[in-house]
């Protein structure tokens, strides 16, 4: 009985004074394994990415790296990141021709000719890790969420596979994993960035067209990039709070 009261007081004390990560850390200290305490603090980070369209060469390294790193099904309907090729005919910005053969996984065989007055360029796409994500708002069970460090994650154990979020994402960044019938999407390589590594796509990008940035770290070069470039987010009219910042984005890109 005495022991029970002690337990109760300890537990309620922790609940009262420690929250979230602090409680997790304190539990590993109590277990006698302080080294197991998480030293990555979610509240210290706010992740985003800059994408320089003018640097993208459409090599598809990011697409292949992402599939390797995150065990994404090889089907051409399953991409956590993909690259689109835009062909904007002369004077017709409203009707660009967009293709993405196998998401850019096998590169882009030459299809257009130079000198016809058209504009041609590549646009890498991925989850925009919105601060106000439409996909998170529609999930009926809380299986997708914005983590405290600004990454939109999926709880695969809790996802029902109802596909509401797939429809809600204005950027088409979600797909159903055919093996588990649950939703999958870019996790911004959460298993890497919380260990101090960059994402697989940024690691593999040969021209630094994509660069991961921590907006809460005042020394991160992302601040310099955002200050010195005219960046835009996709579909700004939807007020999603996107944190994928595009430099050199053409008006025809949707």
């Amino acid at each position: 009985m005495n022991q029970d009261r002690r337990d109760f007081l300890a537990r309620s004390g922790k609940l009262l004074f420690l929250t979230g990560a602090a409680q997790l850390a304190f539990e590993s200290v109590l277990r006698g394994e302080p080294e197991a305490a998480p030293n990555y603090r979610t509240t210290d980070h706010w992740w985003g990415m800059t994408i320089d369209v003018e640097k993208c060469i459409g090599c598809g390294n990011c697409v292949r790296a992402c599939k390797e790193e995150n065990d994404v099904p090889r089907e051409p309907s399953c991409f956590r990141t993909w690259v689109e090729r835009y062909h904007v005919p002369e004077g017709d910005i409203e009707r660009p021709q967009v293709d993405s053969p196998n998401g850019g996984y096998d590169g882009f065989p030459e299809k257009y000719r130079a000198g016809d007055g058209s504009k041609n360029f590549f646009v890498p796409k991925l989850c925009n890790h919105c601060a106000h994500s439409p996909c998170v708002q529609v999930c009926p069970v809380g299986a997708t969420f914005e983590s405290p460090d600004g990454v939109v994650l999926v709880d695969k154990k809790y996802c029902l596979g109802c596909r509401y979020c797939v429809q809600a994402c204005p950027y088409g960044c979600r797909f159903i994993d055919p093996r588990t019938e649950t939703v999958d999407k870019c996790s911004l390589c959460y298993h890497r960035i919380t260990k101090g590594l960059t994402t697989a796509c940024c690691e593999a990008c040969p021209t630094d067209a994509r660069v991961l940035g921590d907006l809460k770290n005042p020394k991160d070069p992302i601040h310099e990039f955002l200050r010195t470039h005219k960046v835009q987010v996709l579909k700004p009219q939807m007020a999603t709070g996107s944190k994928a910042y595009y430099n050199g984005l053409d008006g025809s890109v949707r």
Partner: protein, 167 residues
């Protein structure tokens, strides 16, 4: 018909129902709501750690350079110096963890180089690109170019990857 409480019986029965309903709510809630749900928001707190648990496939340049410090030295000043090793060599965290167990495979230059340098109108105009067939005449790129520093000719005897590290 009397349960001994008279008119109070009505109140007691309603109060009993209310108490039973409240108890049922807490029992069912404990049963259906997973552990940690709501600690940070409307989601399972453990899902954050689940997302962190995946093993890494790309070791990162720092891990490569620990053994292969000669490569960044050779690439220094060249157009490839800022490219991370695994951009061309593929994910090699397994090799970094146990170089004897998992060998790195030398990529085929004619496939690898063309991925970035084959001419394509959608590529930025200032990016170096060639018509591969015309430029190489079927020859391998590394006959004329050092892979790590393509402005230079290749080293006399390229190190054999089957013999392990280049250092």
């Amino acid at each position: 018909m009397s349960d001994g409480l008279g008119h109070k019986g009505h109140l007691v029965r309603v109060a009993g129902l209310y108490a039973a309903g409240t108890a049922a709510f807490f029992v069912l809630r404990a049963f259906f709501v997973p552990a940690g749900f709501g600690a940070y928001g409307h989601y399972r707190a453990g899902a954050i750690d689940d997302n962190r648990a995946r093993p890494v496939a790309f070791a990162g340049r720092a891990a490569c350079v620990e053994c292969h410090s000669d490569v960044p030295e050779a690439a220094k000043g060249g157009p490839h110096q800022a490219i991370r090793c695994e951009a061309c060599h593929g994910p090699l965290a397994g090799h970094a963890a146990d170089p004897a167990e998992k060998k790195a495979v030398r990529p085929d230059p004619r496939v690898l180089c063309a991925r970035c340098h084959a001419a394509n109108v959608a590529r930025p105009a200032r990016f170096p690109q060639v018509d591969v067939a015309e430029h190489s005449g079927g020859e391998s790129c590394t006959t004329c170019h050092a892979a790590h520093n393509p402005k230079e000719p290749p080293p006399a005897a390229p190190p054999d990857p089957q013999k392990g590290g280049t250092k």
